[in-house]
Each structure stands twice: as structure tokens, then as C-alpha cells.
């Protein structure tokens, strides 16, 4: 793991959500790659080898995220990339006949949308390391203590 900028891929079809999350992450020393659907996400992931992937579930195709996660796990060079699911759907997985703890969805952590950004950043840091530079604001504060 490099201690430099963490490279994070966001796969989500809501442009505004991506804009907000990536602005925060970029302000905290992350390089953010953006994809608006599963196919593009997979392509970018193979090309850029991100340190972590943030994945939505319901995109253009209703359960696109599920299948993209499976596809990523089947790809040799991406097998170990941590995947964080960010979705407003997770608590209702049982409606799809999928028990949330079945292990069917091979993700590393789940966050319910909307997500508290400092919390997400902390979880990202715990998972993939990397140190946070001070943001260089007048107050000199960091996002995390």
C-alpha cells in the first residue's frame, strides 16, 4: 500500500451524489475516479486499479451494483480490492430474496445513503491506510481527529 494519495473509484449514477462525495474525498488527499454505471466502473477499475471502490446498487439497471460486484470479484487483478457499498437499498435486500448476511454480495462494508463523510473517510483510512494531510485551511483542522 502506498502512503501517497489513495485512489478511489466511485460507481454511482447520481451525478450530484458523486459530485458531493468526491469533493470531500479530494479535499482529503484522495484521487477520485468516477463511473456512472457498472460497465464503465468495471472498465475503469481494470485500467486504473483503484485502492478502493465505492459502489451503488440501483443504477440504470435495477440491480446493476450486485452484478458489478460479482464481476469485480471474478476479475483476478481486482479480487482483493475493498468494495464499499453505498446504497439506500441495503436494509431491504430481503425484498430481493437475498439475506443481507448470506455472503452473496462480496463487499467489505456497507453504508446507508446519505453517508456521513468524516465517518466514511475514517472507514476508508482504516481499510486501506494512507495518511491524511492537513487540509491547509486557515483553521488548519483535519476532517478527523
Amino acid at each position: 500500500m502506498t502512503s501517497g494519495a489513495r485512489k478511489i473509484l466511485i460507481v454511482d449514477d447520481d451525478h450530484d451524489f458523486v459530485e458531493a462525495v468526491s469533493a470531500f474525498l479530494e479535499a482529503h488527499d484522495c484521487v477520485v475516479l468516477k463511473a456512472c454505471d457498472g460497465r464503465e466502473g468495471l472498465k475503469l477499475a481494470k485500467m486504473e486499479r483503484p485502492d478502493l471502490i465505492i459502489m451503488d446498487i440501483i443504477m440504470n439497471e435495477r440491480t446493476e451494483g450486485f452484478f458489478t460486484v460479482q464481476e469485480i470479484r471474478r476479475t483476478a487483478e481486482l479480487k482483493t480490492v475493498p468494495i464499499f457499498i453505498l446504497s439506500s437499498l441495503y436494509s431491504r435486500l430481503t425484498d430481493f430474496g437475498i439475506p443481507p448476511d448470506s455472503g452473496w454480495l462480496a463487499h467489505d462494508a456497507f453504508f446507508s445513503k446519505p453517508v456521513d463523510m468524516p465517518e466514511l473517510l475514517e472507514k476508508i483510512r482504516q481499510r486501506i491506510g494512507g495518511h491524511d494531510r492537513t487540509t491547509g485551511t486557515p483553521s488548519g483542522r483535519k476532517a478527523e481527529p
Partner: protein, 381 residues
């Protein structure tokens, strides 16, 4: 008649060898797999193993009685149809058996035809029961998933707004946030509007589906409604550089229904025709009086709808995400149209050619004055 399931198994339990043999012969000829047993105990084992669709059982047997067999069989599978054979044919015994869950009874002696008829009837009933059970399960699942998707759609704009606010809160006073603040506020406002449109459409859909509108049955002049809509859409059309035209030469485009719903119907279709048009394009509304029907076509010269999407077009939340520009919309407009039209006993169809345009055609029953009511041929307002 519903289709017969493959390989239906019938079990016959009777201590009388001749009876077992003749039942087996008759039923085998009908194409069933038939297994026979000479007493209740063995019969029950057979039922547990074979899971038959239907059981023929003699009420009077040594050992476990027919009555007890009925109860135990339904513990194994309540969907098994049971026909009892009553040798000492009092109606009382047969009624008792039916109270225990038997489907019907055959008093001895009976003809092969009687057996055939009763077996066919019983199996038909079982197939219908199984089918409707399956249907119920499917409908319940669909409904639950549908609610999930609705709540997801309603949450999506809220999530985006919340996320902007959360980031603004934590990035406050940083140059990153300062540069973005105004833009993000504007986006939040836009997403709020999206949310409002969704709730409005969702309520319309729920109202139309609730059947409350079918009570509002007045004579409505489509020519008048469409002229009003074209008026209100003028601004939107101008903004999209699209021209509007109506071709409604006759004066008798009357239907019976709810005025508001009919307005919603044509508003949605005309707004779509404008939104999915091209600059310099045209929207034409033409109407015809056919035999007892009014057909209204909303014709655009827009982007068209690829064939593969047409079957999903009227489903809730279905949207075609084109490459390039994104058109605002809730994904509910056409399902609202479909629901309004079907509640009125009409139909809606679409013809389309990619890059040439689409035509949505609505057919509604023409207004007919109820018996005894004088039709003065004027629209009621």
C-alpha cells in the same frame, strides 16, 4: 381449461382387489401414473413417498379407517385432492368425509365414466388452486419489490441534497467548498423540484389506480381540453424550439370520463412529445372519430424509441437513459397515462422510429348519451 401438469400421480387405497384393479385400469388409460395400496397404513406411506395429485380411498377398510386416512393425507399435503368411495352408501358418511376435507364421493357401484368425471373435475380444481397460489405469491413479491423501488426513487433526490449539505458542513471555509457552494445550492434546489414532481406524479398514479376517478363520469370535449393544454404548453415548446399544431377538424370529439384525468393524460403525452423532440421539431395532435371510438394521436418528430424498450415504456419508473443529454422526468408519466386509459376502457399504443419520431395513439370510447338522457351535443363543463 388449464393445462395438465406433467405426470400427475394418482394413488388408490382400497382393500378390495377388484376395485383396485379396475380403478388402476380406468385411470391409467387416462394417462395418469397410478399406484394402488391395499390398506390405510401402506397407503399413507405411499402418499408420503409419491406426493400424488389425487387420492381415491375407500372409506371402509380394516385397520386405519378411510376417515383417518383423509386427515393424515392432508397433514402430508393439503393440496392433495381426495375422492372417497363409499360402499355402505349413506349420504351421511359421505358428508362426514367431505367435512374432513374430502373433495367428493363416489357411491358403490360406480361406472368408469363417473370415476373419470370426478377425477378430472378434482384435478382441474387442484390446478386452479395451485395456479392462483402461485399468482398470489408472485403478486406479493412484485408488490414488495415495487414498494422498494418507489421508496428508492423518492429517496434518491433527498440523498443527493443531504450529501451536499453534509459535505458543505464539513468542508465549510475551505477553498474547495467556497468555489462550489453556489453551484451546489442550485443543484439542491433542482433536486427538491425533482422530489416534488415525483410526489405529485406518485399521488396522481395512486389516485387514478384507486378507482375513485371512475365515479366522475361527465361528457368531456377532447377538442377543448387539448386546446387548453396546447395553450399552457406554448412556453415550454418555445423554450425547446418546437412548434405545436392540432388537427381536429370535427366538432364531436366527446368522451365520457373525468375531466382532470383526461387533462393529465394528454398533458403528459404532449409534454413528452415536446421534451423528447429535437430543436426545430414539431408536435401534432390529430383526432379521428372512428366507429364508436375517438382516436387521438400525439405525433412528434423527436428522438424516437428503440424497439427493444417499447415493451417497458408504460412501466413505472422505466426511463431510457440516452447517451448525451439527460431529460428531466419522473419515469411515471406514461404509466399514469396507461392507467387512466385502461380505467376508461380504452387503449394506448405507440409507434416509433429512432431519430424520426414517435406517435402515441389513444383510443377512447366515444360519448354516448345514457338512455333517457337528451343529448344536446354540447360539452358539459
Amino acid at each position: 381449461m388449464s393445462e395438465r401438469a406433467e405426470e400427475e400421480v394418482i394413488v388408490v387405497i382400497d382393500d378390495d382387489y377388484a376395485m383396485r384393479l379396475s380403478c388402476k385400469k380406468i385411470l391409467s388409460k387416462m394417462g395418469f401414473q397410478v399406484e394402488t395400496f391395499e390398506d390405510g397404513a401402506r397407503g399413507l406411506e405411499g402418499v408420503a413417498k409419491l406426493k400424488p395429485a389425487l387420492l381415491v380411498v375407500d372409506l371402509k377398510m380394516p385397520g386405519i379407517s378411510g376417515m383417518e386416512v383423509i386427515a393424515r393425507v392432508h397433514e402430508i399435503d393439503p393440496e392433495i385432492i381426495i375422492v372417497v368411495i363409499t360402499g355402505y352408501g349413506t349420504i351421511d358418511t359421505a358428508v362426514g368425509a367431505m367435512k374432513c376435507g374430502a373433495y367428493d364421493f363416489l357411491p358403490k357401484p360406480f361406472s368408469p365414466d363417473e370415476l373419470r368425471v370426478i377425477v378430472n373435475r378434482g384435478l382441474e380444481r387442484r390446478r386452479l388452486a395451485l395456479e392462483s397460489r402461485r399468482g398470489e405469491v408472485e403478486r406479493a413479491l412484485l408488490k414488495r419489490r415495487f414498494i422498494t423501488f418507489v421508496s428508492h426513487q423518492l429517496q434518491t433526490p433527498l440523498v443527493a441534497i443531504h450529501q451536499y449539505l453534509n459535505v458543505l458542513k464539513h468542508l465549510d471555509n475551505t477553498p474547495e467548498a467556497a468555489a462550489k457552494r453556489q453551484e451546489w445550492f442550485d443543484r439542491c434546489l433542482e433536486r427538491t423540484e425533482e422530489m416534488q414532481a415525483l410526489i405529485k406524479d406518485w399521488l396522481t398514479l395512486a389516485t387514478v389506480g384507486g378507482g375513485s376517478f371512475s365515479r366522475q363520469q361527465v361528457k368531456v370535449d377532447l377538442k377543448e381540453i387539448i386546446a387548453e393544454i396546447l395553450n399552457t404548453c406554448e412556453e415550454m415548446a418555445a423554450a425547446n424550439c418546437v412548434s405545436l399544431a392540432a388537427q381536429m377538424p370535427e366538432n364531436n370529439y366527446f368522451v365520457r370520463g373525468d375531466r382532470t384525468c383526461l387533462s393529465v393524460l394528454f398533458e403528459n403525452l404532449i409534454a413528452n412529445a415536446i421534451k423528447y423532440n429535437k430543436p426545430g421539431g414539431k408536435v401534432t395532435i390529430s383526432a379521428e372519430v372512428l366507429d364508436g371510438e375517438i382516436a387521438v394521436s400525439v405525433i412528434d418528430t423527436g428522438v424516437g424509441i428503440p424497439e427493444k424498450y417499447r415493451q417497458f415504456l408504460f412501466e413505472e419508473f422505466f426511463r431510457i437513459e440516452g447517451e448525451g443529454k439527460k431529460t428531466a422526468g419522473t419515469g411515471l408519466g406514461l404509466s399514469i397515462c396507461k392507467r387512466i386509459v385502461s380505467e376508461m376502457g380504452g387503449s394506448i399504443s405507440v409507434e416509433s422510429q429512432v431519430n424520426v419520431g414517435s406517435t402515441f395513439r389513444v383510443r377512447l370510447l366515444a360519448y354516448r348519451a345514457p338512455a333517457g338522457e337528451e343529448d344536446n351535443n354540447r360539452s358539459s363543463k
